[in-house]
């Protein structure tokens, strides 16, 4: 009897799930990235499973896009122009929320997955970042500066798109590798995973990743911020001592 009841329950449960959409169960290889003296960047593995209603994998495998985004910063971008034979800063534009890091990996190019409007709503793809340009800026000007910023950061390795960066195996498991260069700022990063079926986002899941300094590095930046005077003195004395030590060592030698 007990076995029968369990079977009935299982069928009922599956029936309930049938009305639901597929669910994403995401995870990341590290919830916290520690920056130490030898930190040269990190490789994150973002992986997970797609749970389908009734456990049936559809014939047409859905697609996955994974977005890793760093803390947002307000910035001012200046543009150089040649004036009287000299390149100098002429125009400038403010953006209130530029992410310090933005990487998107997907199983197909974003343009093939989502229409422009949907991609813009979910901020998937570099062209769809909401940088919030300062008030009063002309749209063309804001676009020009946006393109400049994205190009600059793309070459710096902190903004990138990998249109074939997500692997989906058996239609159920997915994984994406995203590398973070060493010059990213510390803070809370969010990894968003989008399940995309027929041009629609059917499921979204988010995980936070902390990137922080630890050990000596953390201590140095804390002292530099909280005890500026002692830190300055320490820097001066370090240089005086090293200079003096070298002079002493070399006096014996020559």
């Amino acid at each position: 009897m007990k076995r029968l009841r369990a079977a009935v329950l299982a069928v009922v449960a599956l029936g309930l799930m049938a009305q639901a959409k597929p669910v994403l169960v995401p995870d990341v290889s590290a919830r916290r990235v520690e920056i130490r003296y030898s930190f040269t960047g990190a490789q994150l593995l973002l992986f997970g499973a797609i749970l389908y209603p009734r456990g049936v994998v559809p014939e047409k495998t859905p697609d996955i896009a994974v977005v890793l985004r760093g803390p947002v910063q307000p910035i001012l971008i200046r543009e150089k122009e040649k004036i009287a034979g000299i390149w100098m800063n002429a125009d400038s534009s403010r953006f209130r929320s530029a992410p310090a890091f933005y990487a998107v990996a997907s199983s197909k190019p974003i343009a093939d997955l989502l229409d422009e409007r949907t991609a813009a709503i979910y901020e998937v793809g570099l062209q769809n970042l909401q940088l919030s340009p300062g008030t009063g800026a002309l749209p063309e000007k804001a676009r020009r500066f946006e393109a400049g910023l994205i190009d600059l950061r793309k070459r710096g390795g902190v903004y990138y798109e990998n249109p074939r960066g997500v692997e989906i195996s058996e239609g159920v498991l997915y994984r994406a590798r995203i590398s973070i260069p060493s010059q990213v700022p510390v803070g809370t990063y969010t990894a968003e995973t989008f399940l995309i079926q027929d041009g629609r986002v059917t499921s979204v899941a988010t995980r936070d990743i902390e990137i922080g300094k630890s050990g000596f590095e953390r201590w140095v930046s804390l002292v530099a911020r909280r005890h500026e005077f002692l830190y300055g003195l320490a820097a001066v004395f370090m240089s005086l001592f090293l200079g003096w030590a070298a002079a002493m060592v070399f006096r014996r030698r020559f």
């Binding site: 034979g85 240089s239 200079g243």
Partner: protein, 302 residues
């Protein structure tokens, strides 16, 4: 060997930074310049944020000038009385310079002003030194060897004269004070130790004998750069102690070899070499102003 810099917030190749420090250290020991005019642009070129580069290079200059100044002091080649007056002027000048710096930064034209000042100053000093060195080496013949006054006519006309025994001069202390003041402003604006301004100015304007010029200038740079490091630590908080340490390890050793080389080389050849270095840097900066820069856009954090 990669090392993460806690304040700059990125990792760098430690050996490359040490080598850079060593190269600048040799120059610093040889010519009595702090070497900031080489360190700062090279660090920025490497990808270090400009404020961190300027602040940490200042710290490195202190260390490089200690070992240089000590070895010159030991040989008796410094006029500390003259140095003290220049330092007082320099510290006042740096306060004025800081105010100018902030105003230029707000308008976004700081890069162009720095670049133009570098080109004008280095070009002028470089040509002046090159001409002098060539005359001394006998490459150029001067038709009528005119009798040059010991020091500049304006300097000689200043009131209130003091005796500077070490330099063998009898001039007004207002002249070195004004020199320090001007050097202080430029130090703050250009993120340099000021040595390449002080050395020629002491030779050509004050008429100090070459044997005390380098030691004196190093002693001045030592005090001014230590003061500027403190100002940076308190205001910009951009001094990266790890970056400065790496630069110093190379710098202090390089400075010792530089000082040794200076005693073995003919002073006129030394002056010729410095003139060439200065002109190369000036030429590079001039190209940087006129050529299309690699980056049209720059990001400033608010």
């Amino acid at each position: 060997m990669d090392i993460y810099l806690p304040i700059a917030g990125q990792s760098v190749n430690a050996l490359l930074i040490i080598a850079l420090g060593g190269l600048v250290g040799i120059l610093s020991g040889m010519f009595g310049v702090g070497g900031g005019f080489l360190t700062t642009p090279l660090l920025i070129f490497y990808g270090i944020p400009p404020t961190v580069a300027v602040a940490s290079a200042t710290t490195q200059i202190t260390g490089a000038s200690v070992s240089g100044a000590m070895s010159h002091l030991r040989r008796g080649g410094a006029d500390l009385q003259m140095g003290a007056i220049v330092v007082v002027g320099g510290l006042m000048g740096s306060l004025v310079g800081a105010a100018i710096f902030r105003a230029l930064q707000a308008s976004g034209q700081i890069d162009v002003v720095i670049g133009s000042l570098y080109v004008l100053l280095l070009g002028y000093i470089g040509i002046l030194m090159l001409k002098d060195a060539l005359i001394a080496l006998g490459t150029i013949k001067v038709k009528a060897p005119e009798v040059r006054p010991r020091h500049n006519r304006w300097v000689a006309s200043l009131p209130l004269r003091w005796r500077f025994y070490k330099s063998g001069l009898y001039i007004s202390p207002l002249a070195p004070f004004a020199l320090g003041f001007g050097a202080g402003i430029l130090t703050m604006l250009l993120g340099i130790g000021g040595g390449f301004i002080l050395v020629p100015a002491m030779i050509y304007l004050l008429g100090m004998p070459a044997r005390v010029v380098i030691g004196t200038s190093l002693a001045i740079i030592l005090v001014i750069s230590a003061g500027t490091t403190m100002v940076h630590a308190l205001t910009t908080r951009a001094v990266d102690i790890v970056l400065a340490g790496l630069l110093l390890v190379g710098g202090v050793v390089g400075a010792q070899y530089g000082a040794l080389l200076a005693t073995k080389m003919k002073p006129d050849l030394l002056r010729f070499a410095l003139a060439i270095v200065i002109l190369i840097v000036a030429g590079r900066m001039a190209l940087g102003l006129a050529w299309r820069p690699d980056e049209i856009f720059t990001v400033e954090y608010l």
